[in-house]
Symmetry: C2
Subunit: 256 residues, 2 copies
Amino acid sequence: MIETPKSQYVQIAELLRTRIKDGTYPPSSALPSEDRLAEELSVSRVTINRAIGLLRASGDVRVRRGIGTVVRSLPRIHRDAQARYAARQEGTGAGEVEVRKLSLQPHTDYRQIGRVVPPETVAKSLRLRKGEATLLRSRVLYANDEPTQIADSYLPWSITKDCPPLLQPDAGAGGSYGRLAELGHGPVRFTEDVTVRMPTEAEQRTLDLEATQPVFEIWHMAFTVEDLPIEVCIHVMPGHLWSLHYRWADQPRSWP
Amino acid sequence: MIETPKSQYVQIAELLRTRIKDGTYPPSSALPSEDRLAEELSVSRVTINRAIGLLRASGDVRVRRGIGTVVRSLPRIHRDAQARYAARQEGTGAGEVEVRKLSLQPHTDYRQIGRVVPPETVAKSLRLRKGEATLLRSRVLYANDEPTQIADSYLPWSITKDCPPLLQPDAGAGGSYGRLAELGHGPVRFTEDVTVRMPTEAEQRTLDLEATQPVFEIWHMAFTVEDLPIEVCIHVMPGHLWSLHYRWADQPRSWP
DNA sequence: CAGTGGTCTAGACCACCAC
DNA sequence: TGGTGGTCTAGACCACTGC
């Protein structure tokens, strides 16, 4: 093995991570202040700050200005793509099932529900004409009051405009997919595109993240029996909070 | 809208990103040196360094010590989970198809092929007894000589030990799944678990990444008709290089 | 050798929080 | 008001590259 001399801030980050793991700094407890750590380790505060920057990027600690640096405590949430839509059909809010499984307290905040001209990429995916409107259902989901995801769901306005329940936070039994089914546009096929990126400033505020903490962006699409796109839902989720699960069987390929 | 006064290094990062997008700094070209940028923008070099740190985390630039800072040029590679295993069955190396689609030059480096006692998590997934061995096929894939992923494939040694092609880099027509099928253990069902995390130091070296650049970890599993786990493959891929694609249809749930 | 980025320091000022 | 982290500076030394 080649011995690489490591920079101090990397070594300090490792030290702090060790202390978190061995219980010296338990979950939800505060780390010593940067000044104190600097003194203890005989380095400048800037070096400590940089070390903590690594812990922040990986989601191990969260920092509150004026308060201090605290060890994160939320476990990873498992998101089973197939199961969640199956659950939805049984009438449960899909996003909350996963959270409840971990004995955490879920909570959904509907930020906006209404008619909206969608971003061009969404319009294209839904095969809408230029300027054609959609119903946007935008919500933020929480676990124990910590934000866990933003979900912006776009549905063609032409199809949803005469369905009042879709304008309510609680869309009724089976959620919005239940209503779509009643309208004769029940989704039967889904796709998801998953990417990782750094959060925008708005997302940093909403999800309580820092510029260096990656987020999943899941571009979820639902199709009807006629293979028409009926929904685009964009999920933005803190990377350190989630684990995504997919499964499939080898079968004659019936889709393009 | 609330006006948030931004720190200089965030503003400078935005400025540099703008210049990259508008072609002032084209792909593969070098940014001005930190000293020069510091002079141009009338800030200290540390501030420039911090701004560039943000561009590095998001994968917009890569830095070569002694050389300079260069604008990244590789596009995102699309990975269609279902399609790639279908392709494999037709005899093409799955990992290379995706790269070739982008007119890039693929290349696979087999780091290790041989008998190995696997990590405990892998052993458990394969339902092996404690200490039972596996065949490990470990490889690094490249596009245009830039590393794009590490793939470590584990197969039960008891099943694979008498199949010499599996000890070769090229496992023959249909890849290792082809050989498993001949052995009567062809995989028919798959699962994938996707997480994001920061890279280990070894991964940083292998994938030419920095500590702040997130990676996908895909835990891929293959099952036989009898529903026995026949392979665990762990993919580690730079987050900024990939886009993952999954699809499924609503159907009577036949799996646990 | 000169030029590049990597790292570190001491000191400073600020914004935010709890009391 | 005192303690916390956020940011910035000027200067320094180092390691690595290419000439």
